[in-house]
C-alpha cells in the first residue's frame, strides 16, 4: 500500500513561476498575483502521486515539499 502524500508550498520561496499549477492543477492554486499554494490541506488524492513529485522537481525556487505520511 502506497503511503499518503501531502504537498506544501513555502510562500516565502514561491515567486509565481506557476510550474506546479501547469503540471498538477489538481494539487495547487494560484492567488491574484499568480503565487501558488497547495489546494486544501495539500493531501494528494490517490493516483496523483506522480504529479506531486513532478511539480516538486520542476519548481525553480525549490519551494515545494512533498511530505510522506
Amino acid at each position: 500500500m502506497a503511503e499518503r502524500l501531502k504537498v506544501h508550498v513555502d510562500p516565502d520561496k514561491c515567486q509565481g513561476h506557476a510550474r506546479c499549477k501547469a503540471l498538477a492543477p489538481e494539487l495547487f492554486e494560484l492567488d491574484e498575483y499568480g503565487n501558488a499554494h497547495e489546494a486544501g490541506d495539500g493531501t494528494v488524492p490517490p493516483g496523483l502521486e506522480d504529479k506531486a513529485w513532478l511539480a516538486k522537481s520542476n519548481c525553480p525556487e525549490i519551494a515545494i515539499d512533498v511530505i510522506e505520511e
Binding site: 509565481g16 506557476a18 498575483y33 499568480g34 513532478l54 522537481s57 520542476n58 525553480p60 525556487e61
Partner: protein
C-alpha cells in the same frame, strides 16, 4: 532594421576567461562552448570591459546572486560601455527596483499576467499567428523571423496595452536602440527613451478623459499602498518595461524554437504526433535557448561560490549559461524534448522572476502549435544565413526557411 544601424565593434576577444565580451561576434554566433570553457575555469569570471564586469558561470552561482539583493542591486540591469545616470525618467519599476520598493511595484503588475488572464488573451494570439501564416504560407522561401516570430509578441502586448498593433515597427525599433545599439552608444538609448516617453505620454493623456479597458488604464487606475495614484513617471516606466521586456524576448524564444525544429525532424514529427507534449517541449527549448541575460550591479563586497566580488563592477547574470550547467541538468548540451525534471531559470530566479512568464509561455505554445498544424514540413534554407541578436537578448533575427516537403 539592423541593416541600417549596426552596433559599434569592440576589439576581438582572444582570452575568454580573463577578457570575456558578450557582444563579441563569436559569443553572438555560438556562446555555448564559450560558457563551457568559462565554467571549467571558475564559477565566476571577470572582464575589464564594460568598466568591470563579472560573469557567474554555474547555475548555483547564478542562483546565489539572484537571491542576494543586499550585495547586488537591480538599479542597472543592462551591461553597457557606460553607466547611465540613474533617474526616475529611465527607471522601469519593478525590474530596476530593489527591496523594499520592489514588492509593491511588482504586485501592481502581476494580476494582469496570471495564467487565467493569459487564457483570455490566447484566442487573439492564435488569430495573430494565423493571420501571419496566411500571408506567407503559399510561398516556398520564408524568413520566419521577419514574417512570423517578430510580430507575435509585439502585437500581443500592443493588444494588452490598448495601443494600435499597427505601431509595431515603431516599438521594435525602440527596442533595438535600447537593447542592442544602446550598449555602446548612449545617445541611441536616450533617444529611444525620449521617443517612448512622448508616445506613451500621449496615450496616457488621451485616457485621462476617456478611460479604456486596457493595461494603460489599469496602471493609471492603480493605487499605491497609501491609496494614491501612481506618478506619471511610474506609469511610464512600467509601460516602457512591458514593451521592452515583452517583445524581443519572446520573439527570440519562438525563433530559437522554430530554428531547432527546422534542424531536428525527429523532434518536429514527435510534437506533431503528440501535441500534448508541446508545453513540456517549450520548457526544454526555454532551457536550452534561454534568450535573456540580465545584470546586477555589485553594491557591497562579498563572495559568490567562494569568489570575491567588488563594488563598482557589474554582473552579467547569465540565466542562459546557468541553464547549460551539466551539474544541474543531465545532458545539458542536448535538447531533450520530453525532459521531465526541468528547474530552468529562463525567467530568472528570486524576486525578479519575469512578470510576463505566463504570457511568454502561452505565446510560445500557441505560436508552435499553429505553425506545426499548418506547416508540418520546413527546414533551414541552405542558401540563406541565420543571424542572431547581440547582447542582452539572444535570438534569431533572420531565419530563412524552405517550406514544404524536401524535393
Amino acid at each position: 532594421m539592423s541593416d541600417v544601424d549596426q552596433p559599434v565593434a569592440h576589439p576581438p576577444v582572444t582570452d575568454w576567461v580573463h577578457d570575456f565580451d558578450h557582444t563579441d561576434p563569436q559569443w553572438t554566433e555560438d556562446p555555448f562552448p564559450i560558457w563551457d570553457q568559462l565554467r571549467a575555469a571558475s564559477p565566476v569570471v571577470h572582464t575589464k570591459r564594460f568598466l568591470g564586469c563579472y560573469l557567474p558561470t554555474t547555475y548555483e552561482a547564478v542562483r546565489e546572486i539572484a537571491n542576494d539583493t543586499e550585495h547586488f542591486s537591480s538599479r542597472r540591469i543592462i551591461v553597457r560601455d557606460v553607466r547611465p545616470e540613474i533617474t526616475s525618467r529611465n527607471a522601469a519599476p519593478p525590474i530596476t527596483s530593489d527591496p523594499p520598493e520592489h514588492k509593491p511595484a511588482k504586485q501592481l503588475l502581476l494580476p494582469p499576467f496570471t495564467p487565467d488572464a493569459m487564457k483570455k488573451l490566447e484566442p487573439r494570439v492564435r488569430a495573430i499567428c494565423n493571420e501571419l501564416i496566411d500571408d506567407f504560407i503559399a510561398e516556398r522561401r520564408v524568413d520566419a523571423a521577419a514574417r512570423y516570430t517578430k510580430h507575435i509578441p509585439v502585437r500581443a502586448i500592443a493588444h494588452m496595452l490598448g495601443i494600435p498593433e499597427s505601431d509595431s515597427d515603431l516599438f521594435i525599433n525602440w527596442i533595438h536602440m535600447i537593447l542592442e545599439l544602446g550598449i555602446k552608444d548612449e545617445s541611441k538609448l536616450l533617444q529611444a527613451v525620449q521617443e517612448m516617453t512622448a508616445y506613451f505620454g500621449g496615450h496616457i493623456e488621451a485616457r485621462k478623459n476617456n478611460p479604456t479597458d486596457d493595461l494603460i488604464s489599469y496602471l493609471m487606475n492603480a493605487r499605491d499602498k497609501n491609496g494614491n495614484p501612481l506618478e506619471d513617471t511610474h506609469v511610464l516606466g512600467s509601460l516602457r518595461l512591458l514593451l521592452i521586456a515583452g517583445i524581443d524576448t519572446t520573439w527570440s524564444a519562438i525563433g530559437a524554437s522554430l530554428w531547432h525544429l527546422a534542424k531536428m525532424p525527429a523532434d518536429r514529427e514527435r510534437l506533431i504526433a503528440e501535441p500534448g507534449l508541446i508545453p513540456t517541449a517549450v520548457e526544454e527549448l526555454l532551457r536550452a535557448y534561454s534568450p535573456v541575460t540580465m545584470a546586477r550591479e555589485v553594491v557591497k563586497e562579498t563572495t559568490v561560490s567562494g569568489c570575491p566580488v567588488k563594488p563598482g563592477n557589474m554582473v552579467l547574470l547569465s540565466f542562459p549559461a546557468a541553464n547549460r550547467d551539466p551539474k544541474m541538468f543531465p545532458d545539458a548540451d542536448k535538447v531533450v524534448i520530453d525532459r521531465r525534471e526541468n528547474r530552468h531559470a529562463a525567467f530568472g530566479l528570486g524576486i525578479h522572476r519575469c512578470v510576463g512568464s505566463n504570457l511568454a509561455r502561452m505565446e510560445m505554445q500557441v505560436a508552435l502549435e499553429e505553425w506545426l498544424k499548418r506547416i508540418p514540413d520546413f527546414r533551414l534554407d541552405p542558401a540563406g544565413t541565420v543571424t542572431w541578436s547581440q547582447g542582452t537578448v539572444r535570438g534569431p533575427r533572420q531565419l530563412p526557411f524552405l517550406l514544404g516537403k524536401a524535393m
